[in-house]
């Protein structure tokens, strides 16, 4: 697959502001964060969840639990993928029973990743509720799934690709839109 970068949607500052706003919205919607925990979906949801937890701590002065979810074992497309994905650990080292969970991912697209993540979470326990936070919502849902907190809505075509970069994994922050010119 050959990709050509079309334009940047968010820079470092833009990402920071979006995450700060989402942090405020999470606090507001849950009337505080006493019982709130954030769980990022591997891979880029992980660092984003960490950052949200730090912002929330800055604002409320409360450290909330952070987890990372690996959804490989729950994917619905394993048999159709050309390459078998590697399984990594799920690192949720707190009891999710009765917690108000905020699931965090970089891009919301078909909704299938979130569907897998919901199944994975339910196997870990019975949270009071699960909310969804994403940095980018690019549309084209194939399942009845909707985000509670959105950094930015970006209308896209299926011929495009959204790439989110995070410092922890990519050495830089930012979001770009790419065009698939050869698949």
């Amino acid at each position: 697959m050959v990709l050509r970068e079309k334009h940047a949607i968010m820079d470092e500052m833009g990402m920071k502001r979006a995450l700060t706003r989402i942090a405020h919205e999470i606090i507001e919607k849950n009337k505080g964060v006493d019982n709130v925990a954030v769980i990022g979906i591997r891979r880029r949801g992980g660092p984003l969840a960490q950052r949200l937890a730090l912002r929330i701590e800055d604002i409320e002065g409360i450290k909330i639990p952070v987890g990372i979810l690996d959804i490989t074992l729950y994917r619905d497309d394993l048999t159709t993928l050309a390459q078998q994905p590697q399984v990594h650990r799920t690192e949720v080292n707190f009891d999710i029973n009765g917690k108000r969970l905020v699931l965090v991912d970089d891009v919301l697209y078909t909704g299938r990743t979130v569907r897998a993540a919901l199944d994975a979470l339910i196997d870990l326990g019975r949270p009071e509720c699960i909310q969804l936070a994403v940095l980018i919502d690019r549309g084209h849902r194939e399942l009845p799934i909707k985000a509670d907190f959105i950094g930015k809505n970006v209308p896209t075509s299926r011929q495009e690709n959204i790439e989110v970069y995070v410092k922890e994994l990519d050495g830089k922050d930012g979001v770009v839109i790419q065009e698939i010119i050869d698949s």
Binding site: L73, L81, Q84, Q86, T90, D119, D123, G125
Partner: protein
Amino acid sequence: MKLERKDLLGLRDLSREETELILNTAIPMKDVICRDIKKVPTLRGKAMVTVFYENSTRTRTSFELAGKYLSADTVNLSISTSSVQKGESLRDTIKTIEVMGFDLMVMRHAMSGTPHYVARNTRMRVINAGDGANEHPTQALLDMYTIKEKKGTLEGLKVAIVGDILHSRVARSNIYGLSKFGCDIRVVGPATLMPPGLEKLGVKSYYSLDEAINGVDVINILRIQRERQVSGLFPSLDEYAQLYMLSPRTLARAKDDVLVLHPGPINRGVEISSELADSAQALINEQVTNGVAIRMALLFLMMGGGRDEITY
């Protein structure tokens, strides 16, 4: 990185990278079996069968459980109550199983090379669960996983394998597996239970238990296989125990934090003293738990999709 092969027949021709992939994939699998809900939907719609021409408690049960935890349908073919007793040939039995639609077969056989023969003659994936005195790859993988989990690495560890090396597929697979990680491997046992040609595998042979375990990080004790002792290989079990049984006393020459492994079933008072077997140093029970995780990793890597380009 993935497992680029249809079957897992031994560790001899497995690359270091493939071995590491299996060991690393077993880590999240162990997380799954330590949860309240020990089941993931990964292998829904896949079917596997265990075909054991030799007896087994842990290997067969653990493969079956591994398959169930991953949501595959698992069936055990009990050879002693099957048409094999009516004289059906191995090839015909395998064909019958194949056309029922199984994706993978786990096989144990008393004759070395049988799983290899079967693998060449079926579209099913085949995992060797022990063939004669040749290999028992999943046992060695779970031993390596257990060691790595405790020591943090396999690199350069000193490992002694004690007992009936001649008849042991566990020893062979461990030697093939551990030598990929630069381990210093020693084998020790009565001269009559030592196969020739061990030096070619890069292994040092000893006849004195004390010398062999001097300063080692790991001791892997093999079971004295009464079913394979034709007779006369050693005078008596008592004499064997006198010279080679591991106990808290004989263990003194090894490192203080030495790990004691045994593939089970154990013969108490023959190759391992009851006191040692029940001590915290012995990892016999953890090995069994890790065996389920290792087998889940293999089943996932072999049936978990994304591998259409592999030709059969």
